[in-house]
């Protein structure tokens, strides 16, 4: 895409960097930590995405089969990317990522179905942005399906502004630093 993306003038936040611990609306203790590539967190994420409801896919991600999930995770868990994971004990409940794209980062967030509507998404995105802010990320963008009102409302609350409304998907942008 050759079109220039517009960002808000002022930075959003500030956001707290992980580790963050809280109790969700179902009274589960959730801990959000920066992704650690050395332990078994990779396999826990594969399990989360294998369990992911296909109805919650957006624009082709997460992919459907384990083989494709692994190759997609290899891309977004690369050391250039910023990743945070929400843990319920040793089960991955949610995952949020910033993937570099020229001078900015593309954001995506996923919460496993049984952990949705419990306030985890808001904490997860704030923790990811806190991690981004601490890592000197300046600009973040995302796309969201326009019928997904809950997600659009969350992104607006966080400080995202619509940067392009002309395609199938709504594009939103935020400044971090």
């Amino acid at each position: 895409m050759k079109r220039e993306r517009l960002y808000p003038d002022d930075p959003a936040g500030p956001f707290d960097a992980p580790t963050v611990e809280f109790e969700d609306r179902e009274e589960r203790t959730i801990e959000i930590r920066v992704y650690d590539p050395d332990g078994d967190e990779y396999e826990r994420l594969v399990e989360m995405y294998t369990e992911f409801d296909p109805a919650d896919r957006a624009q082709g991600i997460p992919p459907g089969r384990e083989e494709r999930i692994r190759s997609w995770l290899d891309t977004i868990l690369d050391s250039e990317c910023l990743n945070v994971v929400a843990w319920h004990g040793d089960e991955a409940a949610g995952h949020a990522t910033l993937v570099p794209d020229e001078d900015a980062y593309e954001l995506a967030i996923f919460v496993l179905q049984k952990y949705q509507r419990a306030g985890i998404g808001t904490h997860l995105i704030e923790a990811l942005l806190g991690h981004g802010q601490a890592s000197d990320v300046e600009k973040v963008w995302l796309t969201v399906e326009r019928w997904n009102r809950a997600a659009v409302a969350l992104y607006k609350k966080i400080g995202f502004e619509t940067s392009n409304a002309e395609s199938f998907e709504l594009e939103m942008a935020l400044r971090l630093n």
Binding site: Q59, G60, P63, E166, S167
Partner: protein, 122 residues
């Protein structure tokens, strides 16, 4: 089958070219390639034509190659109807660094406005 392929120089449009030419060779399709001006692509019509001709030659497929001026989406829809095509083929979208697929503006217009069957190639 009488097939119209629209191509504007984006990566997904070259992928659609490859697959459509392969299919034409096997199915004996009557293929027309329409080169359009995609505002989101830097490729010139001449560069696109060279790649199209190379692909056709490599697969030993005969096709009518033409340049279409003006708005790409509406020109393709018009051509598909006036030319009596069975199917209009386009690239199936670009992937972001994250892996998200977005459908291009030409494909979006064609999908909503074409009275002919539309195929997006992945």
């Amino acid at each position: 089958m009488k097939v119209l392929l629209g191509i504007g120089g984006s990566e997904d449009s070259y992928h659609a070219l490859e697959r459509t030419v392969e299919r034409a060779a096997v199915a004996d399709d009557e293929l027309t390639v329409a080169i359009v001006e995609n505002p989101n692509s830097d490729a010139t019509p001449e560069e696109i034509e060279t790649r199209v001709r190379n692909q056709l030659e490599a697969a030993n497929v005969d096709a009518d190659v033409r340049h279409v001026e003006g708005d790409p989406g509406s020109s393709l829809v018009d051509l598909a109807e006036s030319g009596g095509f069975d199917q209009l083929v386009l690239g199936g979208g670009q992937r972001s660094p994250m892996g998200k697929i977005s459908i291009g503006s030409i494909a979006e217009f064609v999908l909503l406005n074409s009275h002919k069957t539309v195929k997006l190639v992945r």
